[in-house]
Symmetry: C2
Subunit: 417 residues, 2 copies
């Protein structure tokens, strides 16, 4: 052996390195509708009208005070805001929770760039690489993306449409908890199932978090969208003695039909968490300044704003459920809240059926776009015969859409036989 060989080997190794991409990037999933988008574009080019029941973009008119906040913006300099948000917005957000009886002060509110950044900050505050977050499956696909971006991992707690996506028992969930588990993340009302966690389920989550020293991260962005009097919403902020564990994610996007404002927030009574959120927030400087003024205007509206909107979504849900129930072979879980529904279709591959709808079907110049269910499961092969349907269009369109599905399914099954 020559004494210089190891060094030479190192030098060769170093100089033969090639550009590589991060492994984390590979772990971030593509959007479940990604592959369908070109087909939808082609259909539109052919002149086909598409009912978009595939995305959570409501057609509800954005409230006038929000639009007016943009239209009346008149500063000489469009300056940075404070990193944690404009003080008056932090106050109005705290006031919103206070109206629901939660004792939140403005310093426990950090304004974020949408609910997305709030989720990202929450995960970043509690996870290091290799750490695990439990989420009941099916779940919002982007939770995986945010975890992957920080080299953490979403571990699914399985549930299925067959038993109404019931949350497994304490002991069943405990089996998924490892030394790397740092938090349980849930969303109520839930995207994609429309489930609202009841008090007993909330207690199960709380007991698990207390027993194993876990954070509970609650995504409550659909809080106002609950359609039945017997369904009781329990906020994470209403669990006494649980303050150190609780991290709340929120957003104006759906609440005020202001998705494009990109304003959300993170709320926690845990000072350590909020100190880290503060540091993360400082690094990215601030949320959009005018969007914060618009969000402030939204939060200052009278809560009666929600009544007609809730009524409208309830009508939409009812029309959708009624329409789907008429279709032979469709299993569905009646959503209690949010504006999504998971349905099992009488097909082996729902993604292929979604493609069929866009590429090979139309009736009266119209078709429907749905989201394949598999994208909401990380367990392989789960949800392959399911779709998520977002009831974000007016009732007449939903009625037409379910009728189109009713016509399309037998045609698809005939051609795929």
């Amino acid at each position: 052996m020559h004494g210089s060989e190891p060094l030479k080997g190192y030098k060769d190794f170093m100089e033969q390195r090639r550009l590589t991409l991060s492994a984390r990037g590979g772990e971030v999933p593509l959007s479940p509708i990604r592959k369908l988008t070109p087909l939808a574009d082609d259909a539109k080019t052919r002149g086909t009208e598409i009912y978009h029941l595939n995305i959570g973009q409501p057609d509800i008119r954005t409230p006038k005070p929000v639009i007016d906040a943009y239209r009346s913006f008149n500063a000489e300099v469009l300056a940075y805001s404070p990193s944690l948000g404009i003080p008056q917005l932090r106050e109005s957000i705290a006031g919103y929770y206070q109206r629901y009886g939660h004792d939140v002060s403005p310093r426990e509110v950090a304004v974020t760039v949408g609910g997305s950044e709030a989720i990202f900050f929450a995960l970043s505050a509690v996870c290091d690489p290799g750490d695990e977050i439990l989420v009941r499956e099916p779940f919002y696909a982007n939770y995986i993306a945010f975890a992957a971006m920080i080299s953490a991992k979403v571990v699914p707690i399985p549930s299925s449409i067959g038993n109404g996506f019931a949350l497994p028992s304490h002991d069943e969930i405990a089996r998924y908890i490892t030394p790397r588990t740092k938090a349980i993340l849930y969303i109520s009302p839930e995207n994609p199932t429309g489930i609202v966690y009841d008090r007993a389920e909330m207690e199960t989550l709380r007991e698990l978090c207390e027993r194993f020293g876990l954070y509970l991260i609650a995504d409550e962005v659909y809080r106002e969208f609950i359609y039945d009097d017997h369904v009781q919403f329990t906020s994470i902020l209403s669990l006494p003695g649980f303050e150190q564990h609780a991290i709340l994610i929120d957003s104006v996007s759906k609440r005020f039909s202001s998705c494009g404002a990109r304003i959300g927030c993170i709320v926690s009574f845990n000072r350590g968490v909020m100190e880290l959120v503060d540091k993360f927030a400082q690094a990215r400087l601030c949320p959009p300044t005018v969007g914060q003024l618009a969000a402030d205007a939204a939060y200052r509206m009278d809560p009666s704003y929600f009544t007609p909107i809730r009524d409208e979504y309830k009508r939409r849900r009812d029309v959708l459920v009624e329409g789907l129930r008429k279709i032979p072979g469709v299993t569905l879980n009646v959503p209690e809240g949010a504006f999504y529904l998971m349905a099992r279709l009488p097909v082996a591959d729902a993604e292929d059926f979604c493609r069929f709808l866009l590429a090979d079907f139309e009736e009266g110049g119209k078709t429907v776009m749905l989201t394949p269910g598999a994208g909401f499961y990380s367990t392989p092969d789960k949800g392959r015969d399911e779709v998520r349907i977002a009831y974000v269009l007016e009732t007449e369109k939903i009625r037409s859409a379910t009728s189109l599905l009713e016509q399309a399914l037998p045609l698809y099954r005939k051609q795929s036989r």
Copy 2:
């Protein structure tokens, strides 16, 4: 040994776990001016006027087309935009680079939430936990924050005010490259030094990246702010044959005095990089919608917009340099671009002097706020006698500010003797 003991030990361990915060959060630095902010607030409460030369928030009037874009917003629904940005904005950004002779197409442009998100996406696309990014020191403190958030690490390439912050030689920089190094990140014109990388320095960086298989990430947000005819700006986009290595970070914040819009972009000809950026972008849904319309209006302005602004910054720089040169014991590096200057003061602890300025000094009801230089160094004890001065105020205020510094320094030295 009892057979059940290991399991019992595991059970006890699991149930005795406490809530912990992420280590990544601990690695994110606090802002260099963080500790000074309460002192500034106190001074204001006492009625003292503060010249804020501590932050890069220009007082330049935001162009009318930008403000008008907010004021004329009038959609029924404030909806999500496409994740990579509104097509017309991607086109106008590509057009901006084309005017500089760079062959950029809209699909090579991803719109981001400010330059901050662009940096974050660039690092996320190329780094995994433990990976290293080289940055010439002193540098923008938030680079450390973004790296820490993804468990990567900024490795400083030292330079010092004594030799004009000259970039070390190829061989000197090569010593800092390890198997974990994934990229070199630089900014030109530079925050905090005002340095503009010349062609020879750009070639040094390019050769290193080609030799060792590294990405070169260029932050060009201050591109228009160059004050001397003899200083030639070389964009990363103008290095032929280097396309696969090059990742450009950009923003409207300083360029169009639109910091609060939170619109930036990432530009790369490397398809793999852009595919990951696309996935990251989809996870966070979209940049602010109306801000994108405002940015589009900005990019469509006639480039003559920059002439008076550049002239104004040049005057400010000249007044600042002239004022500082009159102060005994001050060493400074004349900035070629951007709107920052690093100066060495005749004090042992510049942070303590910054505190003195806010807490114990005023003249005619006025004082100055500066940023302690140490915050721009990650090497311990470096930059302790330096400050960063942002020349973001009009010339009369800068003249007053340097005069205040001239008066404050002897007083401080007397009291701290």
